[in-house]
């Protein structure tokens, strides 16, 4: 570790590592990443790894589409097999109003160049005879959606960044930040480090970092639980998800089923415990929709956090009150899939002063001054 860097990134999750990698790729490798635990110890290592482009707002669709094109190359580019699979996202709707909205969304998504199908319950049954379609109003499907292994994707960015000269300091916690006229001084458990540019990619702890710098970031972390079964031979290709049905599930390359749901009763705050209620509710709901699960065993159940923003969309950009303080936070449960495009965009902003592939100005912090329009396609 040196005591002075051009760029310091707080957070060794996929977002922090993607930013670091893209900075180095575009020529800036005087970069350090601070991670208080180990790589992927935050939300990334706890997430489901779903990668979806079917969003309800156009900028999210575009950002996700850019991510997908980067995911498609990631294994080859970094030399780490991230178990990427484009098995499609099957979005099931159990609600008439939602179904009507889906029709509109699909039209918008198609206009942006995304290939999305609309399926009747009968179509679903025909394609996936092992799904019980009772109560399903309609479904949408995009073959180019899919999933990857979050740990491996996180490691892929980290290793590739290191190869380009980035320093990654694990088990190094940033405890305080002093804003200097011309940069920042970071106080870590391994000593003081100076940086010209500071990036907050601290996931569930984004608000704490904001407070250290003196910028109020309106994010709040909510626990989300998730569990996985033992492995069986692969047969289930898509990620099945429902906003009205409140669930998601996919089969990993390894053969395990990974699944979760949201909990409206969850209170904000960091909590890594798990409840049995989650298993009970999931077992009942999932066995009804996916009857083949009933003889399968759950092997592990854990929890992570959604770092929520007021409109359930990420907050990305540079602070107006503290220049050179950047943030990529508040991913609201979909930061894994957006990390490649966000990392690239933020790196471009820093190095070229503007983004080259997708416009992310709508995701800046200022937007909340104008009012809040929530993204609906979230579990």
């Amino acid at each position: 570790m040196k005591n002075e860097y051009k760029v310091a990134i707080i957070g060794g999750g996929i977002v922090g590592c993607s930013i670091a990698y893209h900075l180095a790729k575009f020529g800036e490798n005087d970069v350090v990443v601070f991670e208080k635990d180990y790589l992927s110890s935050g939300s990334t290592g706890r997430c489901a790894g779903g990668i979806r482009q079917q969003w309800s707002s156009p900028h999210n669709v575009l950002l996700a589409m850019r991510s997908v094109s980067l995911f498609e190359k990631l294994s080859q580019e970094t030399g780490v097999d991230i178990e990427y699979k484009q098995g499609g996202y099957l979005v099931l709707s159990y609600d008439d109003q939602e179904a009507a909205q889906f029709e509109k969304n699909v039209q918008m998504q198609r206009e942006l160049g995304l290939d999305v199908e609309i399926l009747t319950p009968k179509d679903v049954k025909q394609r996936y005879p092992y799904i019980d379609v009772s109560g399903v109003k309609m479904a949408t499907f995009c073959q180019k959606d899919g999933h990857a292994n979050p740990h491996l994707a996180n490691f892929a960015y980290a290793r590739a960044a290191q190869k380009l000269g980035v320093h990654i300091m694990t088990h190094t916690k940033v405890m305080a930040v002093e804003v200097l006229p011309n940069g920042f001084e970071l106080f870590t458990n391994r000593g003081k480090i100076g940086a010209k540019i500071l990036i907050n990619a601290a996931g569930p702890h984004s608000r704490e970092i904001g407070n250290m710098v003196g910028v109020d970031l309106p994010t709040e972390s909510y626990r989300h639980q998730i569990m996985v079964t033992e492995a069986v031979k692969n047969f289930f290709n898509p990620m099945a998800i429902s906003f009205s049905g409140n669930f998601y599930m996919r089969q990993t390359k390894h053969g395990q089923f990974i699944m979760g749901q949201g909990d409206p009763e969850e209170k904000p705050g960091i909590n890594n415990n798990v409840t049995y209620r989650f298993e009970r509710e999931m077992a009942e709901k999932m066995c009804a929709i996916f009857p083949f699960l009933s003889k399968l065993r759950i092997v592990r159940h854990w929890s992570g956090h959604y770092n929520m923003s007021p409109d359930a969309q990420p907050i990305i950009g540079e602070s107006t009150s503290v220049p050179s303080f950047y943030y990529a936070i508040g991913f609201s449960g979909h930061g894994f899939m957006l990390a490649p495009a966000v990392g690239e965009a933020l790196a471009q902003m820093i190095i070229y002063g503007r983004t080259l592939h997708v416009d992310i100005t709508e995701l800046n912090l200022d937007r909340f001054e104008k009012g809040v329009v929530r993204e609906k396609n979230v579990v």
């Binding site: 415990n273 066995c287 699960l293 003889k295 159940h301």
Partner: protein
Amino acid sequence: MVKTDFLIIGGGPAGLSAAIETSKRGLKTLIVDEGVELGGQLVKQTHKFFGHEGFYASVRGFEIAKRLISQLNENVTIMNQTTVTGIYEDIITAYDRENDLIVEIEPKYILISVGASERFIPFENNHLPGIYGAGAVQTLMNQFKVLPGKRVLMVGSGNIGLIVSYQLLQAGAQVKAIVEITEKVGGYQVHAAKVKRLGVPILLRHTIVKAIGDEKVEGAVIAQVDEKFNVIPGTERELAVDVICIAVGLVPSIELAQMAGVKIEYIPELGGFVPFRDREMRTNIKNIFVAGDLAGIEEATTAMIEGKIVGVAVARDLTGIDLQEDLEKMQKELVEFRSGPFSDKVRKGLERFFPQSAHSYSKDAQQDLGPTGKLRPIIECFENIPCNPCQTSCPSGAITVPGNINSLPLIDYSKCTGCGICAMKCPGLAIFMVQENHQPGRDLIVLPYEFLPLPEKGQKVIALDREGREVGQAEIVKVVKSSNKTHLVHLSVPAGLAQVVRSFRIPQKSDSIVCRCEEITVEEIERAIDEGYTDYEELRRYLRIGMGPCGGRTCRVITLSILARKTKKSIQEIGCGTFRPPSMPVKFDSIVKGEIDNEK
């Protein structure tokens, strides 16, 4: 939903002892145990236990279990074949195997006394069928009465390796050798002596290098090692065996404790990662206690005492009655037991939690062998172990274990009547009776014997010495059958062999992967470490070690030691990783069924 005052997870000696204390004081006590029968390790043990009579010394393990169970009263509910699968934020769950459903439990107090699980070691072909943990061999042999093979290689010479070897011999198998990687036998000398005199070689500074066989074990390659435990090339040799039994130690099963939020510390002297506890066995969480092997790998006796301490403390908390005296009495028992040299390690480990004290014990061994020509016991017990049935069983008070229970037994031959009861009772089978010249030119030797078939009077047998070597012919002159199944066989041997013969043989007509779930090898782990995955958590996620159905039970310890070796860090620095519920795979079906049941 089941509500109870006191939930005991694991009905081994620790759990049962706690239940005895709380149930007799009127508390509703629920014991959940995943075994078919209660008793934990005890039900698989056919040998007599050490200790003192207050804690069933000289009683066979499976009988101790019965005696403990008989002391439970109507306040106790037992759920067996039921595994506690998780201690969640909202509830505790248990999987009832017989009814195939999940039960929800809401207790006021909890004791986690789930014992330990077995270590595993990497060697070539260690996946082959025919390789078993010592516990599995005991289950097959002593519970289901099935012998997995005829010729066994035992890996490890701790008490478990020695005892299971002895039990294998009793069940009719041959034990080709016991290999021990260090330079000394790990277990008690008296246990080692029992197998040695039956001709089983204990090969020190030896290890297993590989298992041979395509479909299943057909042999094993063993070899000598140097001071750094590296195999010395050229010393390899092959043994024809069909079973390889691994007895390389136990690790406390901390999964549930950690899930519940109990602080875990790394204390190698206690077996690795163990839960924090205070003098009353209370963890950092007010209503959660631990006891027994989970709290530190030790013995059934200390497990029982710790269990009693928990039972009394919980009863005091819940009833408000002053039970200080009972508590202190048990705490004193623990000190008494742990005063010997075999407990030095345990005491050192426990110092990390609270100060330890110890009593002094005597190292004076019996010097003289008594009056020649008189029928009298010879006590070959030369290690300070916590044991004294020889003293308490002698009807004429001839034997004393002076002061602390870890002292060596001394005998006053003038008081001895030669009844032989001590020889029958001694759990170490370390007492032999001798009489020189009981007939002209012949010495008499009385040996404790626990094998079938029993020899018959007049039968000619081959006399063996302490190492199991043949030293001559002997004739059976008497067989005294004992109800405790340690029979006394009287042999007549040529004069001069009284202090030589310690065993005999009936002449025979003819002598006839590191991570199992994910199949991950040592090389793969080493490669990943070389690639930079030097953090245990990263390594796990990269290779999926410990993510399979076993939850890391077999591979965690090995992985940690490989990591420690390669990164030159201590295991303590690396940490033990995180455990996630459920602690065993749970079917969706069972949850759904349980829900219907729990609503009732």
